[in-house]
Symmetry: C2
Subunit: 226 residues, 2 copies
């Protein structure tokens, strides 16, 4: 039980933060909190000398990040070759309005994970990862839906990326105006931003009179910079 | 006046959509609408054989996408070398809940731009780009804030990426359940998601009794898939 690895990740030459190092953290708990709140990542990888950044869903299980896709997808096939990747997760928390354009900024939390992904072949691990994807979007969803078939399992590729070389970066708080600018007659402060769920839209197969989907089930679970 | 380029971008071997090609578009107007609604991109680039995906702000002016950063940042210095990049912008519009885990999906709009960025040296173009960044976050903001100094201009690097090789991908609409699954007793449909502004938080320098910041100024401007 408990954490298998030290609570802080190693600082490597590749994850050392050159800009604004005070915004950085290598704390595994903070990194995992951000990963568990967001659900979309961008994966950077190279095919034929061209880098790509492709958005996709993910889920974390323990110290492993899983992504999945059709076994036929170019990204999945490229990643399954064990190439270097970078998985980046970014949560935008606010627009920071200063009295100068120069000091405008954003509040955000981001995680960068470097490494090489491996194709998951063990059916148990694969099923656990697919369960994690589904429940990461809607907690408890896996047990509500029609069980996965062997055919579906075979058509889905799951890739595992160990969380060993990673860092997070966080900006919170008000603008940092120059002292001479604070009396400039423009509003200064933060406009909080968050991804919010709207009113669920049932499809044509939901019986009339059925209970609406409880939108609080998809509410995000942590607070900016908490 | 008017569009300088054909309304549709060329389909290249690198931007051709292999998966779900019906979700793709090369229509310049659609691509620009998505770019103008979002404000955060992920830039993929390679340093020492390692790909990175780094989040940053951007703005579009005509057929050019601009990013900026400190002249001292590793990303800016790498990109200024004229290396291959991929700029990806993703808007998440909803969670798609099907009756099987396999058919769960997301509604989204994403844009991928491939090319090489160039450092902007012309002061006029640089200033226009910085004005576009600022007004992209809050329309009209540039004219409200303390004018930029020459020193600030010198400390900021602006990179220009021509929008010549790009594509967009869109998923909209309800889940696509298997016919045998539609009577499965689980709710199916879409949970709309959108980035929403909360109540603006003034900093310590806003005079007591000053008017609150009108949050509708940062409201996003287009509709999913519109």
């Amino acid at each position: 039980m408990g954490t298998q690895h030290p609570p802080s990740l190693p600082v490597t030459e590749r994850t050392r933060l050159r800009r604004m190092p005070t915004r950085g953290t290598f704390d595994r708990a903070a990194i995992y909190r951000f990963l568990d709140e967001a659900f979309l990542c961008h994966i950077a990888f190279v095919v034929d000398d061209q880098p790509y950044a492709i958005p996709t869903g993910y889920a974390r299980v323990g110290d492993t990040l899983y992504v999945h896709g059709s076994a036929a997808s170019r990204m999945v096939r490229a990643l399954a070759g064990g190439i270097d990747v970078c998985v980046t997760v970014t949560l935008v928390d606010g627009l920071v309005l200063a009295r100068s354009a120069f000091h405008h900024s954003m509040n955000y939390r981001s995680v960068v994970i470097l490494g090489r992904a491996q194709l998951v072949s063990d059916p148990g691990e694969k099923t656990a990862a697919l369960r994690a994807f589904t429940n990461h979007i809607v907690p408890g969803r896996w047990d509500e839906v029609r069980p996965m078939t062997d055919q579906e399992l075979a058509a889905t590729s799951v890739l595992a990326l160990p969380i060993e070389e990673a860092s997070a970066k966080v900006r919170t708080g008000p603008p940092k105006d120059d002292a001479d600018d604070v009396s400039w007659p423009a509003w200064g402060g933060v406009i909080p931003l968050s991804l919010q769920a709207g009113v669920p839209v049932p499809d044509a197969h939901v019986p009339p009179g059925a209970a609406p989907f409880p939108v609080e089930r998809v509410a995000r679970r942590s607070e900016p910079g908490a």
